[in-house]
């Protein structure tokens, strides 16, 4: 028993020692070998692990991460203040990028090469953050029950003709909030409110589960159309076991007049970054074709850099779409308003 206790204490001490060790070494040495870059990320996908690994191999810099849900990351960075060890901050949603921006967690990054490769809409005007990859919010429908002609944009979800036939996840979900935030900007509060209420009235069942569950519900006949992110659909298409789920389903691009709502994952240099130079190199590396391909090929997202070529059967099959040119910071500004509209609409 005693040995057990001492063993644990020693384990704890070693662990905390390891914890403090490398950061000191990194600052001292001159070459890239042994340097350490700390990434605070709310992404945890295979593409990101591939990106870290490729960066490590290319530069010899050690990448260490903390992965946690976006809002917790923001609070942690706020509380840590000047002591924060973070070099790079990565989040999955434009609203959260905006929140981090409001809390002044980013340091501006001026980079000629980034300005050249990343389209203006995919980065902050002052270089506070740069988009890594995109996800589109689309409508999935059952081919045998819905005629593609009936679908006329996001408005369709609120169309009384689809009463009792619509599935969507809960309103607390950030993808839904960002979509409605964009619609508030597009249509104004009144129409956006009417839309949210219309969709809530059309639900086939109370919101439940994630986007994949909505797709499965359409496949199972519980509903005819569902609001989901394209990348869950693409993942099912690319999986040998799961592709039979989407056999009789299709994706409708709600291009409408204004285009499809697209959300972005982005990265920025942390304001108190111990190694701002390494952070810049990391973000620049993430925009190279090699790194951008990871997002398309491993996570089925659309790369932020449009010229990048990739091979992904599902994304090719889904085809082209028009992107909503909204300024991404609007998604953050309208976020609270969007949740209020959802609450009033009774969208659980």
């Amino acid at each position: 028993m005693r040995f057990g206790i001492f063993g644990l204490i020693i384990a704890a001490l070693t662990l905390s020692a390891c914890d403090a060790g490398p950061s000191g070494d990194g600052a001292a040495s001159g070459g890239d070998e042994g340097k350490m870059l700390i990434v605070f990320s709310s992404r945890h996908y295979d593409s990101d692990y591939a990106l870290y690994k490729a960066f490590e191999e290319e530069t010899g810099i050690d990448v260490r991460t903390i992965e946690a849900d976006g809002d917790l990351l923001v609070e942690r960075l706020k509380a840590d203040g000047e002591r924060s060890p973070a070099d790079v901050i990565v989040t999955v949603d434009a609203g959260r990028l905006w929140r981090a921006e409001q809390e002044a967690l980013f340091a501006p990054l001026e980079s000629a090469s980034l300005n050249e490769t990343v389209p203006a809409g995919m980065r902050h005007p002052d270089g506070l953050w740069y988009g890594l990859a995109k996800r589109a919010r689309v409508i999935v429908y059952a081919k045998d029950r819905v005629n593609a002609d009936q679908l006329t944009g996001y408005e369709t979800l609120a169309d009384p003709a689809f009463k009792g036939k619509v599935c969507a996840r809960s309103s607390g979900n950030i993808y839904n909030i960002s979509l409605l935030a964009a619609l508030v900007d597009r249509w104004g509060t009144e129409k956006a409110q009417a839309w949210a209420s219309g969709v809530a009235n059309n639900f086939a069942r109370d919101p439940l589960g994630g986007d994949t569950d909505q797709i499965k519900a359409v496949a199972a006949g519980e509903c005819d159309i569902a609001l989901v992110n394209h990348y869950y659909f693409a993942r099912l298409m690319n999986d040998d076991d799961d592709k039979k789920i989407v056999e009789n389903l299709a994706v409708y691009w709600p291009n409408g007049e204004e285009g499809v709502h697209v959300n972005v994952s982005g990265a920025g240099v942390a304001k108190n970054a111990p190694n701002p130079d390494l952070a810049r190199r990391f973000i620049e590396f993430a925009m190279t074709p090699k790194a951008q391909r990871f997002f398309a090929e491993l996570t089925n997202e659309y790369p932020a850099v449009p010229s990048v070529e990739y091979s992904n059967a599902a994304l090719e099959a889904l085809g082209e779409f028009e992107e909503d040119p909204i300024s991404l910071s609007k998604l953050g500004e309208n976020q609270a308003e969007a949740q209020r509209l959802f609450d009033r609409a009774g969208w659980p």
């Binding site: 840590d80 809960s170 069942r205 569950d213 209020r340």
Partner: protein, 502 residues
């Protein structure tokens, strides 16, 4: 600014969703309490009163559902019962999809019944079946004797178990969010996440805390009133009624139902998923990470729990009140508790920086120390309870006897209290181990760099809707929890055997 923002936000909540948040929480508590009592109390009574084949196995198996985190159970049950899932197909769609209020109540019942079961069983064992026999000889039917005599005697223990169930139910976020039952805790998290208003979230969490304190206070009151009954008829070895063959089979099946629902069915489903899938990342690091934080916290909790129990035993009203307050950490939603810890650590850091600007150690932010602090803040209740009940058995006269024989204070603690209270302290440590193992938000945000735990890794995959990938870390979590819970059962029964000895 924060005040006005919070104020208008509260106004909005009251106008829109607040009633549904509150009514969902209330309904969920009612369903879960009924469910856990129905699953926990009869099984406790049947395994105490009767002897039947499989009883020994069930004694070990019944508490094990606690090793299955409720959010994992929710993922598994929803995927089993959704259209196309194995249960749905096998029953031809008769078994409804686990979702909404009833679904969440079902998942909580099968996950939390061990709290009720463990405490009820302890009460049945220590009160003995003698009172039941006595009632029978006086002409009461079996049901009447159980209802009028046995149940009232065990009521304080059942209430104590139920209080834990209520707190877990109110604080949960993962399960209710996934199953589409927006409760008060979902409201708290939305105030923070969607409205960007952590202060409003903290205020709402405070309301939840006060409600819980109230529930907990009434539970204490009831327990105090019936303390005499607890001491009454124990210390008598049990003799159990041997059942006829068909009755034994029936009882055995009844007692197996909770284990089947809470552990075996979801476990098997996860196992099939895990076997079909190639893991993306090896879970070995996460496994060791979990063991490290859970065992360190268990150790710290044993010391703190004992200290708190001492304070409650010997201290004044302030000490007792602080210990009660520490209990309520259980009822705070994990993410809000994590937020609180971040803020407290930052404040402490500022203080240290001011005192000695150069030599101040780093405590803010993440790291093992911060993490251990967060766990203790959250799970003190699990540690204090068993320590307290262990110390109750050591009467002041034992202290006096030892002191009169020349032992000093430390010798009394070391040679009398610790050996006598050992199983209670060990139970406390193991329960904290299991809780820490399952804990998510604080672990996620405060862990050291590149440090994985099984719960975090399962959450990452599940939140990305990759249940098959989440299956392996979830299963390992359960596998790790199983031996711990078996040890807890063994310690509890040892304690009962000790107190039953003449």
């Amino acid at each position: 600014m924060a005040l006005t923002g919070g104020g208008s936000h509260m106004g909005h909540l009251i106008d829109t969703q607040l009633t549904s948040y509150v009514s969902n929480s209330a309904a969920l508590v009612v369903i879960t309490v009924i469910g856990t009592i129905l699953l926990g109390v009869p099984t406790a009574w049947l395994t105490t009163r009767y002897d039947f084949p499989g009883r020994k196995l069930l004694l070990v198996a019944l508490p094990l559902s606690l090793a299955m985190p409720s959010y994992v159970s929710a993922y598994a049950w929803m995927s089993m019962t959704a259209v196309g899932g194995p249960v749905h197909d096998a029953t031809g769609g008769l078994f409804p999809t686990v979702s909404g209020l009833l679904g969440a109540g079902f998942v909580f019942s099968i996950s939390f019944y061990p709290y009720t079961y463990l405490l009820a069983r302890q009460a049945f064992e220590s009160n003995g079946t003698n009172s039941f026999e006595a009632a029978r000889t006086l002409g009461a039917g079996p049901w009447q004797a159980f209802r009028k005599v046995t149940l009232p005697l065990a009521r304080p223990a059942i209430m104590a178990g139920t209080a834990l169930v209520v707190m877990e139910t109110l604080a949960d976020y993962g399960t209710v969010d996934f199953l589409g039952t927006p409760t008060f805790t979902v409201g708290i998290l939305r105030s923070w996440i969607s409205f960007g208003d952590p202060e409003a979230a903290a205020r709402l969490a405070l309301i939840l805390l006060i409600v819980t304190l109230f529930i907990f206070g009434s539970e204490r009151l009831v327990r105090r009133q019936s303390r005499v009954a607890e001491l009454g008829g124990r210390n008598r070895p049990q003799h159990r009624v041997v059942l006829s063959r068909s009755a034994a089979l029936f009882v055995c099946l009844c007692c197996a139902v909770p284990v089947l629902l809470g552990l075996i069915a979801p476990g098997l489903h996860l196992l099939t998923l895990a076997l079909e899938t190639q893991p993306v990342r090896s879970p070995i690091d996460a496994f060791w990470g979990t063991i490290t934080v859970a065992s360190l916290s268990a150790l710290v909790a044993a010391f703190l729990g004992l200290g708190a129990a001492y304070a409650a035993r010997t201290g004044g009203w302030f000490a007792r009140a602080s210990v009660r307050a520490a209990h309520t950490g259980y009822a705070v939603p994990g993410a809000v508790a994590a937020l609180g810890v971040i803020v407290i650590l930052a404040a402490m850091q500022d203080l240290l920086d001011n005192v000695s600007p150069l030599a101040a150690p780093t405590i803010a932010g993440g790291g093992l120390v911060a993490l251990l602090f967060a766990y203790q803040a959250r799970f003190a209740a699990a540690a204090i309870g068993p320590c307290e009940s262990a110390l109750v058995r050591i009467t002041p006269s034992m202290d006096q006897a030892a002191r009169s024989l020349g032992a000093n204070r430390w010798a009394v603690i070391g040679r009398i209290h610790v050996p006598l209270a050992f199983s209670g302290i060990a139970t406390a440590a193991l329960l904290v181990f299991v809780e820490v193992m399952k804990e998510l938000p604080a672990t996620m945000i405060l862990r050291p760099l590149d440090f994985e735990t099984l719960a975090v890794s399962a959450h990452h995959y599940a939140s990305d809707e990759r249940l098959a990938q989440a299956a392996l870390p979830s299963l390992m979590l359960v596998a790790l929890g199983l031996p711990i819970m078996i040890l807890v059962s063994w310690l509890v029964s040892r304690r009962q055997a000790e107190s039953a000895a003449p």
